[in-house]
Structures are given as C-alpha cells and as structure tokens.
C-alpha cells in the first residue's frame, strides 16, 4: 500500500509523480513538478518540471517541459526549456526543441532538431567543440 504522504509541495512529493506501467492517461497533463511515465500517455503534457519517459513507456503527446529524458517511445513535438536526452533504445518521432539535445547511441530520432549551438572549428564554426559534439544538428 502507498503510505499516506503529506500533500505539501515538498520535493519528495513531486518526485513521486508517476504513471505506472499498468496505467493509461488520455488527456491533458499540466502542473508543477517532475513526472515519470512507465505506462501510456496520450494527449498533451505541460510541465514545469522534468518529464522522464521510461523504457517501455509510450507517449503520444506534444511535450512542453523544463527537461526531458526519453528511454521509451515518444510521438509528438517537444519544446523544452532545458536539456533533452534521448537514451539508447528510445524512439522519438517529432520535432525536438531544447537548450541542449543529447542523442545517445542506439536512440532513434525521426524529426527536426532545433537547438542553438556553435559548430566546432573543424566544421567551419568558431565554437569550442567538445561539449557540442553530442549535439547533432542533422535533419533526418
């Protein structure tokens, strides 16, 4: 059984927000705090907090959040103020906009990347390579 928690807006209460593997949500999800999806979500997500889409999870929604990590499947356009991480094994279909975008080896992306970055010197930019190497400006 779940322990009764205080309904204060503590970090612990926020961190606990999750849609379990046996759950399905259809509609609009909004709010403050982090959310983890293990199950299915169809609709729209607007979150002041980070969204984690776990391995095996399936999300069909446009996502607006502070940060996003995808290990499962995401179909929808993404607009994130902070970092987007597409993990190995993840599948993302849609346009992705974020302050920084990391696509791990084995992660799939079908869509456009929209992120401000500086090209490394070798590619004709004046930038400082290194940190930008994981950002793929490519369009697939």
């Amino acid at each position: 059984m779940a322990q009764p928690r205080s309904s204060s807006s503590s970090a612990a209460a926020h961190a606990a927000a999750a849609i379990g593997p046996g759950s399905r949500v259809r509609g609009r999800v909004t709010g403050d705090g982090d959310l983890t999806v293990h199950g299915r979500l169809e609709g729209e997500v607007q979150l002041r907090g980070s969204l984690f889409i776990d391995e095996g999870a399936h999300v069909e929604a446009n996502v607006d959040a502070d940060a996003l990590r995808v290990g499962g499947t995401l179909e929808g356009n993404v607009s994130v103020a902070g970092d987007v991480t597409i993990l190995s094994g993840a599948r993302v279909r849609g346009d992705v906009r974020g302050a920084s975008i990391a696509l791990h080896e084995g992660g799939e992306l079908d869509g456009r990347l929209d992120s401000e970055f500086t090209l490394p010197r070798e590619l004709g930019g004046g930038g400082e390579g290194g940190d930008d190497n994981h950002k793929k400006p490519a369009r697939r």
Binding site: A16, G20, P21, G22, R24, V25, R28, V29, D34, H38
Partner: protein, 104 residues
C-alpha cells in the same frame, strides 16, 4: 511500488485508467478507472466518476463512485456524489452528500 501517483502539483484533464494502484495527491478531471486500490489523499481532488477496487478518500471528490470493494471516507474527506460499494465507512469529520447503494 506505488505504481501510479498523480503528484501534488499535477493536474490531469481527461481519462485515467489503470490496472494497478493509484494515488491521487493532485487533481484529476474527467474519468478515473482502476482495477486496484485508489487512494485520494488530503489535498487531492477528483472531479470525475470513479470506478475502482477499494477506495480511500481523504481529499475532495465530486462525482459518482463505484467500487468493487469498500469505500472509506476519512476525516477531512469531502465527497459529493453517489457511492456504490459493498462496504462503506464514513469517518467522523468526513463530509458526504449523495446516496449510498450497497446492493442489498
């Protein structure tokens, strides 16, 4: 593991269906269908018809409740709607407006 937790800051407008335990600390508007236990904690709000296994309410519910098991309205709970369940408890301090159908 508490499988599905709608956190305190989260609002869902739509439909939630689940094969596992659901804890509501935030807000659900629309419809809530769960096969297992549902807990609506103090501060949690559900404006929806609820179908569930055992249901425990310490927050706000506006909507009709159907439980395959028991319904516990705890102190501080505020429920407006009809309740259909095999067993029901209404604690001292719980507010309830609606009908009870215990299928006798």
């Amino acid at each position: 593991m508490a499988s599905t937790v709608i956190g305190a800051g989260i609002t869902i407008e739509g439909e939630v269906s689940s094969d596992e335990e659901v804890v509501v600390q935030g807000t659900i508007r629309g419809k809530l269908e769960a096969r297992e236990a549902v807990t609506i904690e103090a501060g949690g709000t559900v404006e929806a018809d609820i179908t569930a296994g055992p249901l425990s309410v310490a927050g706000n519910v506006t909507g009709n409740i159907t439980s395959s098991d028991r319904v516990d309205l705890q102190a501080g709970a505020r429920v407006v709607g009809n309740v259909k369940a095999t067993r029901i408890t209404i604690a001292d301090g719980a507010q309830f407006k609606g009908n009870v159908d215990m299928d006798v």
